[in-house]
């Protein structure tokens, strides 16, 4: 049994907690830095990345989150979470946590009226995953050993680098738990490795 934290500063954290519990594991809503110590893996949920970053800074989460990743504990970022993880953001001199070697573009699929859903093939996860894209970013380019897991319309929309996982879409908005199960598997592997 793994204990997975969901960063609860803003966004769709309730849905991620439901997915983790539906997979039969413990979920913890993380609102304070100290709570990070008690979890084996962390989800950075969808929401507004600008807002989340403001709150991350105001509550001194910034260094704590980077450290969490650097100790080898898995992190899964969806949409805004993907932007937080990226090492480079298009048209922006600053990045956020910079844990994953990739360049991302914000709101890259357009405004809300261009938001869409589509079945998606995700390497190692599913060939028909229901992917919901909302004012979604995409990955322009991956660097180092970051691996592309899915593309849509030739744009990279899911990637993995070691113990980091990121998607441009929102698995938390569907009842399809295969991607969460895949992440929990990564968490369990990392637990075994650290024993």
């Amino acid at each position: 049994m793994a204990t997975i934290g969901v960063l609860g500063l803003q966004g769709a954290f309730r849905e991620h907690i439901q997915s983790i519990e539906a997979c039969g594991h413990d979920a913890v809503l993380i609102k304070k830095v100290e709570q990070l110590e008690a979890v084996d893996g962390l989800v950075l949920p969808g929401g507004e990345s600008t807002t989340m970053r403001r709150l991350i800074d105001r509550y001194e989460f910034f260094d704590a989150l980077i450290q969490f990743g650097q100790t080898g504990k898995p992190i899964f970022g969806t949409c805004a979470g993907l932007i937080l993880l990226a090492s480079q953001i298009e048209n922006d001199d600053d990045n956020h946590l910079g844990l994953m070697d990739m360049t991302v573009a914000r709101n890259a699929f357009g405004r809300q009226k261009q938001s869409f859903e589509t079945p998606l093939e995700i390497k190692g996860v599913a060939d028909d995953f229901e992917a919901v894209f909302i004012r979604a970013p995409y990955i322009l380019d991956v660097h180092q050993d970051t691996e592309v897991l899915a593309t849509y319309d030739d744009k990279i929309v899911a990637a993995k680098q070691g113990h980091y996982l990121a998607t441009a879409f929102h698995p938390e908005l569907t009842d399809d738990y295969r991607l969460m199960a895949y992440f929990i598997d990564m968490v369990e592997q990392s637990k075994l490795a650290s024993v």
Binding site: G11, G46, E48, K113
Partner: protein, 294 residues
């Protein structure tokens, strides 16, 4: 193979706003202040509700110049208001690329009977509600997000509290009803039966419900979260206060940490004067914006 404008895509957008604050802004400068303070979205309009009250007359959709200016100023979503029942104002806002449309009683209604058929649009809508019946009628028409109506532009929280309490109480009431009672309740409240069934099963509304209409302080925002709001709209409360930057930041933090009372005490210190308030019981007739639609 991809589908735009599905319920999941429209409602999902509101899910991403949860735990956040949506702020009324009238120009690019205010929009940037709101974004910098941590707003999850801004509502672009020509005048904030308290100024609409003061001006009187007919309040319409904002000049597209204002909306466009705000759309270009920030990377967070931009919402905009259309008059109740004004199909064309809504289409114009959709065409301009507004991320969400508020079919709002703050503006003068264009139709005193019918709301817009919101299922027909690709862009999602938010609508006001005072009780469960009204909330579910709006969802039936295609609203993807709700907010309490409260009493806009008053800086008085009492009506927003009343409406949030009413919705929550009625959800609990419905949860304990027998199926045969539910049909009569549907008749009495004008709520679609299928949506009542869904509320009974899930114990909550099928879409996100924010608080709006009277929030003026960090404590007001936290109070609404405590009562079950998924987030808050602040209209006149920010830019009609003496120190908008500080009010905006404090309200955002109080919404995130609504049960951290030491923090809220700290946030509330030396904030300066809040917006001027209005006693809602002195409002009559058309000045009660919440009564402008059913």
């Amino acid at each position: 193979m991809s589908n735009v404008g599905t319920d999941r895509v429209k409602r999902g957008m509101a899910e991403m706003q949860k735990g956040g604050v949506i702020m009324d802004v009238v120009n690019a400068e205010q929009a940037k202040i709101a974004e910098e303070a941590g707003a999850v979205a801004v509502m672009a309009l020509e005048r904030v509700p308290s100024d609409i009250r003061a001006a009187g007359g007919v309040a319409r959709m904002a000049d597209p110049t204002v909306t466009e200016e705000v759309l270009n100023a920030v990377s967070i979503p931009v919402m905009a208001k259309a008059r109740i029942g004004h199909i064309v104002e809504a289409r114009v806002l959709e065409a301009m690329g507004a991320d969400y449309i508020d079919e709002s009683e703050v503006l003068t209604p264009a139709d005193d009977i019918y709301h817009i058929d919101k299922n027909d649009y690709t862009v999602p809508f938010v609508c006001g509600c005072r009780n469960l019946g009204e909330a579910l009628r709006r969802i039936g028409e295609g609203a993807s997000m709700l907010r309490t109506k409260g009493e806009p532009g008053t800086g008085n929280i009492v009506e927003a509290v009343r409406h949030m309490r009413e919705v929550q109480t009625q959800i609990r009431y419905v949860q304990n009803m027998a199926k045969d009672e539910l049909m009569v309740y549907a008749k009495e409240t004008g709520a679609p039966y299928e949506l009542l069934l869904q509320v009974q099963e899930e114990g909550r509304l099928p879409v996100v419900n924010f608080a709006a209409g009277g929030i003026a302080t960090p404590s007001d925002a936290a109070l609404m979260m405590e009562l079950g709001a998924d987030g808050v709209f602040v209209g006149s409360g920010i830019f009609k206060s003496k120190n908008p930057e500080k009010f905006a930041r404090s309200i955002v933090e109080a919404t995130t940490h609504y049960q951290d009372y030491e923090l809220i005490a700290k946030l509330s210190k030396d904030l300066g004067t809040a917006m001027p308030g209005l006693e809602t019981s002195t409002l009559e007739g058309n000045d009660r914006m919440q009564d402008r639609s059913e």
